[in-house]
Symmetry: C2
Subunit: 289 residues, 2 copies
């Protein structure tokens, strides 16, 4: 069978990203929920029954999974990638997971003479669809050079960050910032509505002045349409805030504002919004209105 690229994890982001690769390469895909493979198969991808089967057919395997546990299961679990992976293969992990898990997996890969690159992305579902993602990559430079052409098919800005794990570190730091920006935009917009300001004036002023942020635009747009289909789910946003806070604690850094943000966002998650888009935080004040 022809050697192909492998792609495991076809959620909102993974599906959009894999669709770019399948345009120019043979791609073998796997997803736990098999229906999510359908758009890829229609676009010409091959289906695998297990992560191991993906590994057996691929010299470069892309992962876009939910969290540390999901990556571990797919890679180290039963019928996982490591069961069938060939020496010389490169694993490119687009998931956002902890730098510690990344380093552990990279070490386990190295024993098999496999290269592990952590390559988390930013730019959201829109960036994934439009291939305008920023991809930040940690790992050995030679492996990075080898996969860079594929990354350029999925993203616009490909940044080599350094040692394995540093891509994840940068991603978590960036998500700490975007997470708090999202919460600030939500709090501001809801307060403004309560004080009698209109969407129109808030949007016109706040999207162009010093309060401007990517997250503010997202909040305003999704709230106006009352559409909180993820996108990036509350569960994932909360996971990343928690990971950033763990990183800070590990190095004894006082992340005071992040501490509070994590508590507040956890409340939102616990209120049943886990599967809604992260921007649903703006609905937090609905009941008190």
């Amino acid at each position: 069978m022809e050697e192909s690229l492998g792609f495991i994890g076809l959620g909102v982001m993974g599906q959009a990203m894999a669709l770019h690769l399948v345009k120019s390469h043979p791609v073998t895909v796997y997803n736990r929920t098999r229906e999510r493979c359908q758009p890829l198969l229609q676009a010409g991808a091959q289906l695998a029954d297990t992560p191991a089967e993906v590994a057996s057919r691929s010299r470069c395997i892309f992962l876009m999974l939910k969290d540390d546990a999901a990556v571990s299961e797919v890679v180290e679990g039963s019928s996982g990638v490591f069961e069938a992976i060939c020496p010389g293969t490169i694993v490119v992990d687009h998931s956002t997971i902890s730098p510690a898990s990344t380093r552990r997996l990279a070490h386990a890969a190295k024993i098999r003479n496999v290269q592990w690159l952590d390559a988390p992305v930013t730019g959201g579902d829109i960036g994934a669809r439009e291939a305008t993602l920023t991809i930040m990559v940690g790992g050995e430079a030679a492996a990075f050079e080898e996969v860079q052409p594929y990354l350029k098919e999925m993203g616009r800005r490909i940044v080599y960050v350094g040692a394995v794990g540093q891509g994840q570190t940068l991603k978590l730091v960036a998500n700490l910032v975007s997470g708090i920006n999202l919460m600030a935009a939500s709090e501001g917009v809801r307060l403004g509505l309560k004080l009698g300001l209109s969407w129109d004036t808030m949007d016109e002023v706040m999207s162009h002045g010093t309060s401007q942020s990517y997250e503010l635009s997202k909040i305003v747009d999704r709230m106006r349409r009352d559409n909180f289909v993820p996108g990036f789910s509350v569960e994932n946003r909360y996971k990343d805030l928690k990971l950033a806070l763990e990183l800070a604690r590990q190095v004894g850094f006082n992340a005071d504002l992040t501490e509070r943000a994590e508590e507040l966002y956890r409340e939102h998650w616990q209120a049943g919004y886990g599967q809604s888009d992260e921007a649903s935080y703006v609905k937090r004040w609905d009941e008190s209105e």
Copy 2:
């Protein structure tokens, strides 16, 4: 003497804004610290010894002052604007003060048959110099129409918000958002440095992805140059966070993240940074490094 525009308050913002007006109009200026009038006088403005003298010569008076107390002093104090203002004059207050003070002053103006417009700005010192400010205006629509040509000389985006006080309300909401964005950017960037990320990769990734914000760019730029000449001072930033919180409390709105941000920013102010640029918050972690 020829009737002119009046401009009172020549701090960083006011000076830059008044310099645009003096290009096309006779302008009478007043500032408590007289040396700050110098650039305006060189550009052709007339000096007044008191706010009352400005009022006696002007049919439209622009204010750009520090806080509620400063506006009250200049307008209602001894030798203040109200001592010499003529019926039909329009006062345009570019200061950021509380909506409550604004409504009180607008009422006192109305008794004198004077129109009060609250017209706070956003866009920072750069926006003031480049005449790209966003100006949000509350007050009577007819008075707004009358002064709009002047506002267009100082700003790019002139937004009529509604009743008097609503310009201030929108400004405080916008500043709540930008204030928290600034703190999030600071916390993220400092954590990133501690975790071994470089300025270059953080800037490249965070300025273009979902973590992007106006404040992040400002932080990165000022911190790299280690230049915290205000700009927008810590004292002013703190004042606005406090005012936003007061607004929230007045209407029973739970501004939980803002509550924490206000506490943390107050600590920074109390640590002696009051006269530094707001972006100096990023130095908060210096001593613990």
